[in-house]
């Protein structure tokens, strides 16, 4: 599974992109975020307030209950501020 980080999530986690293999019980966006938060202090800090974290799975906006699986591209980012 490819994970992409943008904006301050990228800065706090210290990486723009990584490939991870979460345990088999991680099958939803919510479970993936909880698992990522255990990967280190930067992750825990970046993911401590999920009200300011948005997720896209395969480039579509996703909610906590949506499914994730091996091979997906999952992006984590703050609420968007374009325009």
């Amino acid at each position: 599974m490819k994970i992409l980080y943008f904006a301050w999530l990228r800065q706090r986690i210290g990486s723009a992109e990584e490939t991870v293999t979460p345990p088999p019980e991680v099958t939803s966006v919510g479970a993936l975020l909880a698992w990522l938060a255990t990967r280190g202090p930067g992750y825990a800090e970046a993911l401590k307030d999920l009200s300011v974290v948005r997720v896209a799975v395969n480039q579509e906006f996703a909610q906590a209950g949506d499914a994730v699986k091996a091979g997906d591209e999952v992006a984590l980012f703050p609420p968007v501020t374009g325009g």
């Binding site: 301050w8 703050p78 609420p79 968007v80 501020t81 374009g82 325009g83």
Partner: protein
């Protein structure tokens, strides 16, 4: 048409291209977003901003902009539409975004243009970091923008 690019754009040339060879267009509305040189709503209260860096999600950005443009075209009878959004480091005063809509009648062109801006503000994956007098600062999403986008929900 949508474009995501680092380079600046020529508003006049872009608008001319949109209507070239057409005589069925009665109205062309456009909006240009620029890098403002202060934080927040009030220049006197906000810190100075010298530049802004726009980050985006290549791939998803183009997809979302194309979806938003397609949605505008289902809601209004547009003759032509255009979204150009820049990324990278832009100094105060530089152009960020151009949205333009052409239609037979002005009401459709105005409404579609406003809709495109409201929707891209809240759903296109761009993030802005300002270089302010107090150091770099990530621009936070504004509840006002969510409210503006929500008025188009049907």
């Amino acid at each position: 048409m949508i474009r995501v690019q680092r380079e600046d754009f020529d508003i006049g040339a872009e608008l001319d291209k949109l209507t070239a060879g057409r005589s069925d267009i009665g109205g062309l509305a456009s909006f240009t977003g620029l890098v403002r040189d202060f934080v927040g709503m009030d220049k006197a209260a906000g810190a100075d901003v010298s530049a802004m860096t726009l980050e985006h999600y290549p791939g998803m950005t183009e997809k979302r902009l194309a979806e938003i443009e397609a949605e505008a075209n289902t809601r209004w009878p547009l003759s032509a539409s255009l979204i150009i959004h820049r990324y990278g480091k832009l100094t105060a005063g530089e152009r960020i975004v151009l949205v333009a809509c052409a239609a037979a009648h002005r009401e459709d062109a105005f409404a579609a243009c406003q809709f495109l801006m409201d929707w891209l503000k809240t759903s296109a994956p761009f993030w802005k970091q300002e270089d302010t007098a107090n150091g770099p600062r990530w621009v936070e999403a504004d509840a006002k923008d969510d409210a503006l986008a929500a008025r188009w929900k049907t």
